[in-house]
Symmetry: C2
Amino acid sequence: MTQATIGSSEFDRDTRVRLRTDGVFDADLPEGWSVGAGLNGGYLLALLGRALGEALERPDPFTITAHYLSGTTPGPAVIRTDVAARRHSTATGSARLLQPDADGNEVERVRVLGTCGDLSALPADVHTTAKPPEIPPWEHCVGAEHSPHDAERMPPIVHRLRLRLDPATLGWAIGEPSGKGEMRAWFALPDGRDHDPLSLLLAVDGLPSVAFELGIDAWVPTVELTAHVRARPAPGPVRVALTTRNVAGGYLEEDAEVWDSEDRLVAQSRQLAKIKPKPSHFRSQ
Amino acid sequence: MTQATIGSSEFDRDTRVRLRTDGVFDADLPEGWSVGAGLNGGYLLALLGRALGEALERPDPFTITAHYLSGTTPGPAVIRTDVAARRHSTATGSARLLQPDADGNEVERVRVLGTCGDLSALPADVHTTAKPPEIPPWEHCVGAEHSPHDAERMPPIVHRLRLRLDPATLGWAIGEPSGKGEMRAWFALPDGRDHDPLSLLLAVDGLPSVAFELGIDAWVPTVELTAHVRARPAPGPVRVALTTRNVAGGYLEEDAEVWDSEDRLVAQSRQLAKIKPKPSHFRSQ
């Protein structure tokens, strides 16, 4: 496989939006990003981040929030944007992802609110007090290619991401969750495309849920996810560390930090997810 | 002063909204919540949270995100809401706070996106791994009433909140910031009203910025703030702990946790704030 570049990769092709008229974009959502009943939330966030950035004429999502309303399916979709404010260096607006129902009526799938700007125009000062996660080197972490399960039967999204999970946070996969609210992984794209601010939106929702390592065998659909992209990432895979501090009342909060190859904290996110018991025939016990 | 109750307090009066027509509310914003050039962001979040909850017919903000667009001033305002989705137990929508300019045109001040529901209907399970902040008892913490400065010259909002700061995070006030990205305080309302989900939205943006303890003598206006309210708080003052992990590129992230008198983590928030140098005549050095 030829190494893909930013702009020419599978991820770029699959998040492409076409301007229909002022503030309205068309998109064709491919099947490859399916997970469970719908398309992956990070993929949809990247798609909407791209459309919002184009509508606001600012390249990078500084902070973007998505509320997931109903399951998005492969096929045609329309994105309707609305500008709230334009300032000297940043702009703010909303975007709605809609799909036609059987009668052709538009049903809203996701709504986002975000502020976009140009990360490369920011000053270079860094006073981050956080430290990168401790995670073994890529070659000592575990990918889908090491799984005993049949790759053909895995959700399609497994083939769109190149994930290498820290063995220390992989107990859930063999029925022995650590009981700690932590998940860590290396995250790359399979065609070798380097990361940019948009693919970081994919990274913050691309790992298995941190709930699994707490022994919660349930569906954990995202209600809301907010991501801050703080810098353009250096080339190479990023490290993603998930934690949760608050599992209560049938919901959990999940925080993600994304670190680039130069040890820069390039993105942070927090999501609120609902804990939905699986039907009994889906349980792993 | 008679002890105020939820529904009859200054905070309830000042966040009241009047339904004008379907989805549109009027409000009169009092002067008392001013801080610097505009009204406090937490106060505005509570105001918009109330309007959004009424529009969605769901009492409590589960997760709400605000983007602050331009300075809100005391006086008349209109709130325009838009429902995205109604589900069995929760609903999602947007709200925009607008004020007339000199020509009578509506200028957008704040835009929010949120999902509301009924916290009292959630199951009682709590698996929070976080621990409450270590903070001295109320009587050993420091309030505005202990300040050597003239109370008449403090920003009006000081008199709307009853804050008691942890002396360990108060070095900035005497020109000796700790250098740690931490701020802690007890938080109550001056008329004795207990907290509810809406006043928690005030609490997450009611402390001095965590930037001050890092020695950053600047204005730090909020670009975006997202709050999760996870439970109805027990009576009594709450404890608020602020931290930051990422000060870089002229922005900082600030996280807040709010703990009630029964040691329940009742709210979490994260904001992205811009670091704006003060004009030289404002500097404390």
